[in-house]
Symmetry: C3
């Protein structure tokens, strides 16, 4: 594909500054861009990289006034405009042809909507509903009484246990499991007895769940993942948890049972949440934190156990000085003792 | 289903206090229970929740004397009685019809017991034995020479590598892998050379392994998971580990090779164990701990590196005071110096 | 199989010391070895274990001069020689018969090399190339335009997304996913918008990736895993990461996007790397570390946040003394105050 910068501006939005007739053939990151490609710069801090950039045009925000001799496309949100440029040059084809593959198994009384694609060796249980335009890649498994909304994309080897509900435009990556049993046992007579996990999971619209992540069903009631939530790979969500709308979590984070995460929360990787916690809307949780109590809305916490981030930074800074302090400590005690002796004599 | 409280008491055990003729139609957690439902209260600490409870009856322990006007079912272990009530109102049907699906592949010389259910696109190797009443859900894979005991339940996409042995009533959730190669290489000539992993894994009776967890086979000899062990999701058990009977581990915990966990041990989530360790019977390991040395029986440890829990709590408390202490530290040194100067003069 | 120690020496290399005519029937670890078996001792520290060893011969390094009455096989690298002995007594058969199973689905224009084995319910996309001698176990999924080199081994339920490239002799264990979407979203209007992940993943020769590990494709460009890299189970590698040759990582470690790990790096389990980092060649990262900045070549770091290992050990040692220090702290302040008062009087 070949588009002038002016043509890109028409489709992506923004104002061209410089030669709008330059021809663009693709998109690339600033460090890899070659002649003919358009790149982007979201952070004015990195404006120096533009000097060596081989790109033919740059998407920038209004606070970047110039970029050597490169023509600019000035937009309010360069990263979002870049996304649109990527799509422009790389139209996403459907990963599977429409229709039900002859080697797929669809259970009794299951309704399959229009324009659905179901790949080979997919197994769907009884009484399910698969919404219009959804794609079930090969080797997907779906239990009985499951609802899959419209335009969902389920990658190979993902699993939906019985009675799960997915909204529209949900993406489940390979190996994702939704609706596995919560981890619950009643101790009696020195042994653990399994508590039947008869609740469900509801995944709302526009949720994306990363590879090999697991979302446990509720013991009773429901586990719920709110609209627009994005979960990275290898995340564990325990039974009866809820995650609010537009919350994002990085890889390998884990939520113990019955923990409630608010809306618009940002969670780093490898974070652990204890059970029965509440994390307020708009909170931020630093990577590898161990969250053991309620986090108020809008607050950033980090560390183990997690505390307000500024406090954690102070703790870490103090900790680095601790070994030296301990050395001085002994000396100080000796000096104090000598003073006391001296004074005792006087 | 509709049962009087008296009828429930007959089946679940316990003594009715109040109106035993009240009709119950289901079970629910105390915060969700509606009229007609029975709930439970395991911890007297939460007795205040009963005030707002809309339930029609409550399962309690003997130390709870009253619950507003609600009829009680008094039992020795409310959580265990609740489990039985859940089963009473939600009888668990088999998740798969008996018989071998026409689209399953069963290898030569493999024996399939009575009442076994094998779903579509299951692949079983040669010379296996699948015990009476076991259920192999769709898309399960089993290698050669594997033994699966009686009444086991293998969820979709679980894998058993060659020569693995499962006891009776073992539950493997979706994506569980038992018998993958241990992580072992001999460095030689600046490269790593794979050590063949020719040992096995033995999973004893009544073990349950959570979604996408992985149990590596032994290099030589066996990895062994003891009777009644319950593992949560995304857990890693390295080669040649052993886990004693009735031990439970929360999600995302990992065991390095050749580590031996005792019986009745409770392990929190995201714990890491170094290799070649011994953890004594009845020990407790706090969430996110890094266990780098032997843990004696019955002891609770936590932190990174893990230490006795009381000590860890003291360390954490001291740590919170450290920044303030450092501020005073400088002042204190100045004061001491001034004293010394003063005394030097006298 | 039955081989004299002399015959083993001929095949494995090394010098026999003692009775070379002793007959050996198998290999075992020192604590499990029975009569007739050969074992090994890599570390002179454990030479005392030889006293109780029931083995009939021992592979040792030159710095071990004797082992009771046991015949020795003296070699430069006992662990590597042991590996060869294991293979001698346990020749590794192919886990799958050659040929394409009638129940496998191979897409249009896909080339399958000689001596390839493709199991039942395998799905391969269009325009792929599967190299000579590679083995695709049952239930493997491969997207369009994928290249698999020669003599690769893909275990059941592993997935390769579109356009991925594998070198030769790559081993992917069960549930491994290569090429899943990187975790990238552009925030706009209070919601997250998915950045299309149109880059790829290149896995070089002799890489082994552990069970249920996930390697994300690049946003643009490539994620690259260097020759000879060995990854343990449940590892997450984010988009656009690179891992240098002969680097090894233990289980449950995670790399955020665009982090670059050098060659010959050793990484413990449950380590977290922030994004956009560089870790130098030959570095060592302690288990459970949180790496938040560049690590120079050859350096060992550990802790949270990671710091040079010796410093971390000092920090940990100081930390253990902190509670006691705090107790003394108050006393010390009182003593100082008293001195000041006293001096004020004089």
């Amino acid at each position: 594909m070949r588009l002038t910068l002016n043509a890109i501006a028409e489709k992506v939005g923004g104002r061209v500054k410089g030669d709008g007739s330059v021809e663009i053939t693709g998109v690339a990151k600033i460090e890899n861009a070659r002649e003919g490609e358009i790149t982007f710069l979201a952070n004015p801090k990195y404006v120096r990289y533009l000097k060596d950039a081989k790109a033919s045009a740059v998407i920038v925000s209004a606070d970047i006034q110039e970029a050597g001799n490169l023509p600019l496309l000035v937009v309010p949100n360069p990263y979002y405009a870049f996304l649109k440029a990527v799509l422009l040059f790389n139209p996403q084809g459907a990963p599977l042809e429409k229709g039900v593959h002859s080697q797929a198994i669809v259970g009794e009384d299951t309704q399959v909507g229009e324009d659905v694609a179901i790949g080979p060796f997919v197994v769907i249980g009884k009484r399910c509903r698969i919404g219009r335009g959804s794609i079930l890649m090969p080797l997907v498994w779906i239990g009985d009484d499951v609802v899959v909304g419209e335009d969902c994309l389920l990658y190979p080897h993902s699993s939906l246990r019985e009675k799960i509900v997915l909204g529209n435009r949900v993406i489940l990556h390979c190996g994702v499991v939704v609706g596995s049993d919560g981890f619950g046992y009643a101790p009696e007579g020195g042994r653990y007895h399994k508590i039947p996990q008869i609740g469900t999971v509801v995944i709302e619209d526009d949720v994306e769940i990363g590879t090999n992540s697991t979302i446990d069903r509720a013991t009773l009631g429901e586990t719920r993942i709110g609209r627009g939530v994005k979960l990275d790979n290898l995340i564990h969500v325990g039974h009866n948890c809820t995650i609010g709308e537009d919350t994002v979590m990085a890889a390998q984070t884990g939520l113990s049972g019955s923990t409630h995460i608010g809306k618009g929360v940002r969670v780093g990787g490898q974070v652990g949440f204890a059970g029965h916690l509440i994390v307020g809307d708009g909170a931020t949780i630093g990577a590898q934190s161990g969250v053991s109590k309620t986090v108020p809305p809008g607050v950033m916490v980090s560390g183990y156990p997690a505390q307000p981030h500024q406090q954690e930074l102070r703790t870490e800074a103090s900790l680095r000085k601790l070994p030296e302090m301990l050395k001085e400590w002994k000396e100080l005690k000796v000096r104090l003792e000598e003073l006391e002796k001296h004074i005792g004599k006087t």
